[in-house]
């Protein structure tokens, strides 16, 4: 899977979770850019991505994620 494909699939997860088809995520997107993105939703996003890509994140890996770009890089490293 290419990085673009992973980004596109991840974008769909964001649209579902926040029930907003207008959301377009980029590498620079952070929790500050999406109104309802709190710590609870952060967990929901990570769990949804784990199921979607059949991967598992370690605590240490997800603790320091600064933005969507780093999240996508982390997924890519596990595919």
């Amino acid at each position: 899977m290419t990085r673009e494909e992973v980004m596109a699939k991840t974008n769909e997860v964001f649209c579902d979770i926040f029930d907003d088809d207008e959301i377009v995520i980029t590498d620079e997107t952070t929790a500050a850019d999406i109104e309802d993105w709190d710590s609870l939703e952060q967990i929901n996003i990570l769990v949804a991505l784990e199921k979607l890509f059949s991967i598992k994140f370690a605590v240490s890996e997800v603790e320091g994620l600064a933005n969507v770009g780093e999240m996508i890089d982390l997924i890519m490293s596990k595919l």
């Binding site: 997860v13 979770i17 609870l40 967990i43 929901n44 769990v47």
Partner: protein, 589 residues
């Protein structure tokens, strides 16, 4: 989307869109739900909201601080009390259990740890009694690994045995205390698979007791208990016949051609569904047939030697070629229950779709393969039991007696003569402590003959019964065909020379038997003895109680107020009151 079998990941990912749809539902029942935390509850709140909305309940939540379930209950600073919860749910798991034994510790120490851990739970439940509402708590899941292996289930110092013992004690307590309900978290973990359910990474990172993907199962289970407590269970299971209750087509194959019972794999699956239906009837669920067939052929299927059900197990039997949604409506009318209290089981996807499309509020579980029919219906939770009264167990008998009464009625030209022929005896008196469970249950599920549709929690009902400021009357009706059990209730608030009727209900089983007159006669006599002169009655309209819109008028009340469809009525007790009931012999128990 929220009906079992549901896709938990889909629900988690689309909760916002689902909620938008669900809040559009009409006639939602408002309930205040306190969610107390042993482990993380934030997301559980969101998903529980969806399942409650799906059941017609709109929750307002109080969410306790993380890990403070015990403190919230035992040391409440007034916050929880001020919230006035209708239900408290305590979301605990084995992570919240303390102290626990360690392998090899002496038996006496393990026993005292068990007492201490259970004592803590008991303290919390005792403190929770102050809130006067139902309390639901998870029991405890088995550990993901065992230090001693299989011996963990044998030694008192083993964690498996410890969990089993504490769950057993919780069950004993819940069985003997009516306001405590156990959410079987241990069963859920087993059902979902302990290994996946208790993935430790989610506890370590986010303090979730389970993989969050399984939150919908947990929320569904809790929502089922809540809706059952508030009287929103379904009442009847309406079954298709061919390829549902047996394998084959009775009209083509004949009774010797259908497969049923232990001789064939297909036969076992259908026998299992028959046994499930029979067991449901044993706890008061009405069974009915809704099949496209010739009636004689349809009934012959139950003559199969392996048939567990018999034609007379069904209180409504529709085998004809009419559309099924019409037959269901007809059955509902005959049984005098709402068609929205039906669950319809049919192997044929087209029939299911038609019944769903008719929008009657009938639940239509998505059946797949016959060996999963019973499981799919059962896990849908339509008939979730939160209390089981003697009347529930006898319900099918009572309906049968009613059918016999109707036959008798047909043979009388004069209705009064018919009523007298029933030789009715009404046992009418104040709410008796032993009957309070049934009294509360009936008040919470009666929709048609219900003037105010006020619902009560057990503690509230207990308080009404004990308070001299209220007059309570419950009526049990017997006749020559059998005992109907407690079928009518009335609560009046006494205010000087006024009495205000806050609840008056009667089961639809005993409509038109003059029992409402007998109750009114008793009410008048009791109020007169207390110096009451004026009785105030209120009618609050709901979707289901049109039958009593003019009930007070028919008793001789005068309407004194009208607000939309709601009305207030008054009755001045005359000097000379003549009893209205002439059909029932009234006995004071």
């Amino acid at each position: 989307m929220l009906e079992y079998p549901f896709d938990p990941s889909y629900i988690m990912q689309n909760k916002r869109a689902l909620k938008k749809q669900l809040v559009k539902k009409e006639g939602l029942l408002q309930k205040r739900i306190a969610l107390l935390s042993g482990t993380t509850v934030g997301e559980l709140k969101n998903i529980l909201e969806l399942f409650l909305l799906d059941q017609g309940i709109q929750p307002e939540f109080y969410v306790g601080d993380y890990g403070r379930w015990y403190e919230d209950l035992v040391f409440d600073d007034g916050t929880l009390a001020n919230f006035h919860p209708d239900v408290i749910f305590i979301n605990t798991s084995a992570h919240n259990l303390a102290p626990v034994p360690h392998p090899g510790e002496p038996d006496e120490l393990c026993a005292s740890k068990l007492d201490e851990a259970f004592g803590k739970l008991q303290n919390a439940w005792k403190a929770a009694e102050a809130f006067g509402c139902p309390v639901i708590q998870n029991n405890f899941e088995y550990p993901l690994y065992r230090v001693m292996g299989n011996y963990d289930a044998v030694s008192p110092s083993g964690r498996v045995r410890f969990i089993r013992q504490i769950n057993e004690r919780m069950a004993d307590y819940a069985f003997s205390h009516k306001n405590l309900y156990i959410n079987d978290f241990n069963y859920l973990a087993a059902f979902c698979g302990l290994d996946r359910f208790c993935d430790p990474s989610y506890y370590n990172s986010y303090k979730y007791a389970q993989d969050p993907t399984f939150i919908p199962y947990l929320a569904h289970s809790v929502a089922l208990i809540v809706k059952s407590i508030f009287g929103k269970n379904k009442k009847a299971l309406m079954l298709d016949l061919d390829n549902t209750l047996w394998h084959g087509v009775i009209g083509d194959d004949g009774v010797e051609g259908i497969k049923l019972g232990y001789e064939s794999p297909e036969g076992i699956a259908h026998a299992e569904l028959q046994q499930y239906a029979k067991d449901l009837a044993g706890i008061g669920v009405i069974l009915g047939v809704c099949s496209k067939n010739e009636e004689a052929a349809a009934k012959s299927g139950f003559d199969h030697p392996s048939s567990i059900l018999h034609a007379d197990d069904f209180l409504s039997f529709k085998a004809n070629w009419e559309p099924k949604q019409l037959n269901l409506q007809q059955s509902a009318k005959e049984l005098n229950v709402g068609v929205d209290s039906f669950v319809f089981a049919d192997d044929n996807p087209a029939e299911r779709e038609i019944v769903r499309g008719a929008n009657l509020g009938v639940a239509v579980p998505e059946l797949t393969v016959p060996e999963r029919f019973a499981e799919t219906i059962a896990n849908g939770g339509y008939f979730e039991v939160t209390s089981l009264s003697a009347d529930d167990v006898r319900r099918a008998e009572m309906y049968k007696e009613n059918i016999a009464r109707e036959k008798q009625q047909a043979s009388f030209a004069d209705y009064g003569e018919y009523l007298r022929s029933l030789e009715m005896r009404g046992y009418i008196g104040p709410f008796a402590p032993a009957a309070l469970e049934r009294i509360t249950q009936l008040a919470n599920k009666t929709n048609q003959f219900n003037l105010t549709t006020r619902r009560y929690q057990p503690a509230e009902m207990e308080a009404r019964a004990a308070d001299p400021g209220y007059l309570t009357l419950a009526g049990r009706l017997e006749d020559k065909f059998g005992d109907n059990g407690i079928v009518t209730e009335l609560i009046a608030k006494l205010e000087g020379d006024h009495a205000d009727i806050e609840l008056w209900i009667m089961s639809c089983r005993v409509f038109k038997r003059e029992l409402e007159y007998a109750m009114f006669d008793e009410l008048v006599a009791a109020l007169r003895g207390r110096g009451v002169r004026t009785i105030v009655g209120r009618y609050y309209k709901t979707a289901k109680n049109a039958i009593v819109a003019d009930f007070y008028g028919s008793l001789g009340f005068v309407k004194t107020g009208q607000n939309g469809d709601d009305s207030v009525w008054e009755y001045q007790i005359p000097q000379q009151y003549e009893n209205k009931n002439h059909a029932i012999e009234v006995i004071h128990p």
